[in-house]
C-alpha cells in the first residue's frame, strides 16, 4: 500500500547561520495510521508538519503527500491541517470562515449547506455570532479543528490540537481521531501531551534539535513496564546539555520559598 505521507532526509533552517531546525528527518505514514510526533519546544515538530502541509519550503530532502509534492493543490485537497495557535480573518464569523474555506475546497452549495452547520455543531460554535477577533484561544482552536475536517480529508495533521482545550474538548478530539482512524484517515499528531499521544497513536517519533531520536510502534518505543513520559524524558535529556531546573533564588536556603 502506498504511503499517504513519505518524508526522506528532510532539512530546514530559517537563516543561513542558524542550526538546522529540521535535520534529516525521515518518516512514513499510511492510511488509517495515527502517527505521533513528540519533542520538547523547538524540536522542529511544527516545521516538519508545515513542510508536509506545503507552507514551508524544505532546504533539503523530499516529501510526497499522496504521491505528489505538498505544493500541488490536488494533494492539499485531501489534507486537513489544524495549526498550532490557529487564527482566521478577524472580522469574519465562524460560519463565514467555514463558507470561505468550503469555497477554497471546491464544495458545492448542497455540500456546504450540509457540512457547515454540522461542523459548527461539532466545534460547539453553532450559535456563535461574534466575529473571530472576539474569540478566546479555545474557541479558535475548536474552529481550527473544524476547518481541518471540513473537506473530509484523507490525511489530518493536528499540531498541538488540544493545547487550549478544556477536558471535554480534549475528549471530543480523541473521539474524533479514533473515528477518523477507523474510517481509514491517516493522522499526524503533534503534541506535548504524552498521555494523549499514548492513547491514540500507533506509531511515534521522538524528536529533539531537529532530529528523530527514536521511532517505532508504541510497543517498540515504550518497553513493557515503562510509560511514554519516562522514555521521552530520558531520551531528550541524554541529547541535550544538562541544566539546573530551578533558579538559585528559589533553591537558596535563606530565601522565603
Amino acid at each position: 500500500m502506498a504511503a499517504v505521507v513519505s518524508v526522506r532526509d528532510l532539512r530546514k533552517r530559517y537563516r543561513r547561520r542558524d542550526p538546522w531546525a529540521v535535520d534529516g528527518v525521515t518518516l512514513e505514514l499510511g492510511a488509517g495510521q495515527a502517527f505521533g510526533l513528540l519533542g520538547p519546544n523547538g524540536a522542529g515538530k511544527t516545521s516538519v508538519v508545515k513542510m508536509i502541509a506545503g507552507l514551508l519550503r524544505p532546504d533539503g530532502g523530499a516529501i510526497t503527500v499522496f504521491g505528489s509534492s505538498p505544493g500541488d493543490p490536488a494533494a492539499r485537497a485531501q489534507l486537513g491541517f489544524a495549526p498550532e495557535d490557529p487564527d482566521f480573518p478577524k472580522f469574519l464569523r465562524a460560519a463565514e470562515v467555514l463558507d470561505y474555506f468550503s469555497s477554497l475546497l471546491g464544495l458545492d452549495d448542497a455540500e456546504r449547506k450540509r457540512r457547515i452547520p454540522e461542523t459548527l455543531a461539532f466545534a460547539g460554535l453553532e450559535s456563535e455570532r461574534r466575529q473571530i477577533r472576539q474569540y478566546s484561544k479555545g474557541m479558535k482552536q475548536r474552529l481550527g479543528i473544524a476547518q481541518a475536517i471540513l473537506g473530509r480529508p484523507k490525511l489530518l495533521i493536528l499540531d498541538e490540537p488540544t493545547a487550549d482545550l478544556d477536558p471535554l474538548g480534549r475528549r471530543d478530539v480523541r473521539a474524533l481521531i479514533e473515528r477518523l482512524k477507523q474510517s481509514g484517515v491517516a493522522i499526524l499528531l503533534n503534541s506535548h501531551l504524552l498521555s494523549e499521544v499514548e492513547l491514540v497513536c500507533d506509531t511515534v517519533a521522538i524528536m529533539a534539535k531537529g532530529r528523530v531520536l527514536k521511532e517505532g510502534t508504541m510497543s517498540e518505543v515504550v518497553p513493557e513496564g515503562r510509560n511514554l513520559e519516562d522514555v521521552f524524558v530520558q531520551l531528550v535529556e541524554t541529547n541535550q546539555m544538562p541544566r539546573d531546573h530551578l533558579p538559585s533564588f528559589i533553591t537558596d536556603k535563606d530565601g522565603t520559598v
Binding site: G54, P73, D87, P89, L92, Y100, S103
Partner: protein, 291 residues
C-alpha cells in the same frame, strides 16, 4: 480559477468591516460635505456683496472664480482621501492574514499562491473603486450647490485619481508581504511621492527646456521610464482655461506651461504596464512568503 472569487469576496467583506477604512471613508464623506457647504457659504456671502468691497472683480466674476477654486480643492481632497483609503487597503488586505496566522489555515487549502494573490488584488482594487466611487458620487452631489459648467471634468479626475491610487496601493500590498505594514507604507510613500515626484518633476523641467544639460537629461530620461507616471485628467487644464477665460487672459501661454496636459495613450499604456509589474511583485512576494 479555483479560489480567486472566494478570496476576493471574503477579503472585501473583511475590509468593509475594518474600522480604519470606515474612519477614512467617513472622514472623506464628512470632509467633502463640510468643504462643499463651506464654499457654498462663501459663495452666498460673496453673491450678497459681502466681499465686494475687498475685491476688484465684479460679483459674478468673483463667484465664478470661487466656484473654480472650490472644484480645484474638491479634486485635491478627493485625491487625498483616495490615497488614504488606498494606503489603508494596501496595509491590511494581505498583511493581517500573514501577521495573525490566518494565512496558515488559508494556504493549507487547495489554492495556489497565484490564485490567493490575484484574489487579494481583485479585492483591493474592487474595494478602492467602490469607496472612491461613492465619494465621487457625493462630490458630484456637492457640486450641485454651485452653478454648473465643469461637471464632466469630475469623471476624468476620479478615474485618474483611482488609477494612480491603484499603483501606490499595489506597491504597499507587495511591500507589506515582505515587511511590517507601517514600514511598507512609509517606503511606498517615499518611493511614489518623493523619489518618483522628483524624477518626474526634473524630467518635466528638462522637457520644457528650463534645464540644459545633455548628460543629466539622459539620466533623467532613463529614470523617468523606471518609475510610475501619475495619470493626469483634463480637469486641471480645464480649470485653468476657465480661469483664464474669466480673466480675459486666454492668450497667456506662460501660465499654461506649468499645467500638465491630460495623459495620452503612452502614459495610459505605461500605467497599465506598471499595474502588471506591481501585481507581479505582489504575487512573487506571496509566493516566496513562508507561513
Amino acid at each position: 480559477m479555483n479560489g480567486v472569487g472566494a478570496v476576493a469576496r471574503y477579503t472585501m467583506l473583511e475590509l468593509s468591516r475594518r474600522r480604519i477604512l470606515l474612519v477614512f471613508f467617513l472622514l472623506g464623506a464628512v470632509g467633502l460635505l463640510i468643504f462643499g457647504f463651506g464654499f457654498r457659504f462663501l459663495y452666498s456671502f460673496a453673491s450678497s456683496g459681502g466681499l465686494g468691497s475687498s475685491s476688484n472683480l465684479d460679483p459674478a466674476t468673483f463667484d465664478r472664480l470661487l466656484q473654480l477654486q472650490f472644484l480645484s480643492y474638491l479634486y485635491g481632497a478627493l485625491s487625498t482621501f483616495a490615497l488614504l483609503i488606498g494606503f489603508g487597503i494596501g496595509m491590511t488586505a494581505i498583511y493581517h492574514d500573514l501577521d495573525s496566522g490566518a494565512a496558515v489555515s488559508l494556504l493549507s487549502k487547495p489554492i495556489t499562491r497565484f490564485a490567493f494573490a490575484l484574489g487579494k488584488i481583485v479585492a483591493a482594487i474592487g474595494s478602492l473603486v467602490l469607496i472612491v466611487g461613492v465619494l465621487a458620487l457625493e462630490a458630484r452631489l456637492v457640486m450641485l450647490l454651485f452653478p454648473g459648467g465643469l461637471e464632466s471634468s469630475l469623471t476624468g479626475q476620479v478615474i485618474a485619481t483611482t488609477a494612480n491610487t491603484v499603483v501606490v496601493m499595489l506597491i504597499v500590498l507587495a511591500l507589506s508581504t515582505w515587511m511590517n505594514n507601517i514600514v511598507a507604507a512609509i517606503v511606498a510613500f517615499v518611493y511614489y511621492n518623493v523619489i518618483t515626484g522628483v524624477i518626474t518633476t526634473v524630467h518635466m523641467f528638462f522637457d520644457s527646456g528650463a534645464f540644459h544639460n545633455d548628460l543629466v537629461k539622459t539620466v533623467f530620461d532613463v529614470l523617468y521610464w523606471t518609475v510610475p507616471h501619475a495619470l493626469v485628467s483634463s480637469a486641471p487644464g480645464d480649470l485653468v482655461r476657465a480661469q483664464l477665460q474669466i480673466e480675459n487672459q486666454s492668450g497667456n501661454t506662460t501660465t499654461f506651461a506649468f499645467v500638465p496636459s491630460a495623459s495620452g495613450g503612452g502614459d495610459i499604456a505605461w500605467w497599465a504596464f506598471m499595474v502588471v509589474v506591481f501585481s507581479g511583485l505582489v504575487y512573487l512576494a506571496v509566493r516566496r512568503r513562508q507561513v
